[in-house]
Symmetry: C2
Subunit: 343 residues, 2 copies
């Protein structure tokens, strides 16, 4: 039993996590973040932010994509076992204090500093923005700083590529605290998951909807079978009798991630290495493993999807609670900085 | 009688104007903007925005300066005759929809475009920011676009140096309307006052609190006398009998701006040019003119200053009304872009 489990939720450390609603979630999210959230909700006061405003920073020409995926992402959350009794799910755009805090923080960070942010540099390149970076995109680390601090989160799970965002957040926190002359906002700690990132079914480093190499949590058995069939194995493993390579073989990477029978997977690896084990047999096994994993999620998801307004009620309730939390922080920051409070 | 004076206030064109509360207002504001506002409130639906959030973009290290000047600026407004019955005075930081709209607009403008803004370029140089521009400062034209459009203002009085801000606003308006597929926001028209800018008492091009060359609307007769005494005239006009120069002579510039007896001023100019008119006589006249102008403003201001909470009630009432106006616009923009509305 973890040491915090008997504490009231108020005294638990606050964790902020979330997703940009740009598409339904997939197995990459499942191993990378969703499983952790299901665990964290027992030990932490957890807020899961549906970052629709941030989603617009590189989807301004396609805002309906963001709108339509808010429900999809929430369905995924509930289907994997994120429990509204233990986790507060909330919608970024419906909390004005986050926008207010972002604009305030923008005064405490320089343009040069934002441009030096390695995450932003990489992402600008990845998105092909060149000089035409939307200003909202350049500023999104500041918006994330507002999100994190508005909830007074001290624990923020991130991918290793997002660690500079937390550093940026803490710089702003220290700047604001220095200006206020006292600690008004806590610093946050980045928690990088120990499990490696799940590659796409095509062997690319990252599973991603936009790359078309993802297996969604809503995948049907047939979709799972198709996805596994096209999976990258060992291109030199031509005949069944040939020795095969396990490293970089996506099927084995997935078996390592999802097959509960570790011993059997080890035996399969040995067999594959010495030759005599065909890709088809391996892929059949993986198909079964993934179907067993996804099937209950998919079913629960399908059931929930029949009551979309109930699902959105969960977001509504979480957002109402979060609106009050974030507004309190904004009020505190205003007061600490000596800003004017009209009301 | 102007053609609009019989129309209901709703059908009048909407005008947005305002000030950053960085100090009490002075004679430069009086001729440049305040007199116009007193006139516009009869013909337009006028909103006067106290731009405290914008004031922070280059005063983040001194937020109490902004806080303390909100009351000062409001006192100036009321003292010169801006009438809450005809003008809505409101506080920027107390309208969250302005922050929300700003963040949304930031997605529709590129960093390169913001950096090309001539107003920003000049101001960055004037403030000595160099590469260390606060991000909030770079983004402030977008915040102004949000202010203008949130009120659906079509008329925006600006100095000639601020015209690029209105161009930037209209670019964003067109981009948002194109994205929405219909006109959701109106374009705004910059109105540049025809009267020239009032120079400082030291002859510098601009009267400014930070330059120490201003005469405030709260100035006592003695402060007015002192300010006029140090006023720049014609350095070659040594003896009373010498011919003097009128052009560039600040005393005459002020007499042109404030002395109601135009014929007498013309006669004084002729006399000064041919010699025989001393600076002291001229300055005495200007002191009288300015004292006559400022005295009732100062007295009314001093009376109002004894009831600060009543004064702030004016701002509170105006802000409540404006909060609802700006929130409606934000809701409309969200709907037009197909964004998600949770509530």
């Amino acid at each position: 039993m973890p040491p915090n489990s008997q504490a009231s939720s108020v005294s638990r450390p606050i964790i902020l996590t979330g997703d940009r609603p740009t598409g339904p979630l997939h197995l990459g999210h499942y191993v990378g973040t969703l499983l952790n959230r299901v665990a964290f909700q027992r030990t932490h006061q957890q807020f899961v932010l549906i970052a629709d405003a941030q989603g617009l920073t590189d989807n301004a020409s396609n805002p309906t994509k963001i709108r339509d995926n808010i429900l999809e992402v929430t369905l995924d959350y509930l289907a994997v076992g994120i429990d509204p009794q233990h986790t507060t799910i909330c919608l970024q755009s419906a909390m004005p204090a986050l926008s207010e805090l972002t604009l305030l923080f923008l005064n405490y960070v320089t343009v040069a500093r934002l441009e030096r942010n390695p995450t932003i540099k990489d992402e600008i390149q990845a998105r092909g923005f060149g000089r035409d970076i939307p200003a909202g995109f350049l500023c999104y680390p500041v918006a994330q700083a507002a999100d994190i601090t508005a909830f007074k989160a001290t624990v923020v799970p991130v991918g290793d590529d997002q660690v500079p965002i937390i550093e940026q957040t803490n710089e702003i926190v220290r700047r604001v605290n220095r200006q206020a002359g006292r600690i008004v906002l806590p610093e946050a700690k980045a928690v990088v998951p120990t499990v490696g990132r799940l590659p796409g079914v095509d062997g690319q480093a990252k599973m991603s909807k936009s790359q078309g190499n993802a297996i969604f949590l809503s995948a049907s058995p047939e979709q799972i079978r198709q996805a596994v069939r096209q999976m990258y194995t060992d291109p030199d493993h031509i005949r069944v009798s040939d020795p095969g390579r396990v490293e970089g073989n996506v099927v084995f990477t997935y078996l390592d991630a999802f097959d509960p029978a570790r011993d059997e997977v080890d035996e399969l690896k040995a067999h594959y290495r010495r030759g005599g084990l065909g890709d088809t047999a391996l892929k059949d096994r993986l198909t079964n493993v993934l179907t067993t994993l996804i099937e209950p999620i998919r079913e629960r998801r399908a059931q929930l999807a029949q009551r979309p307004s109930d699902v959105l009620d969960v977001v509504r309730a979480g957002t109402n609670k979060s609106r009050s939390v974030t507004q309190s922080t904004m009020d505190e920051v205003r007061e600490a900085l000596g800003l004017f409070a009209l009301l």
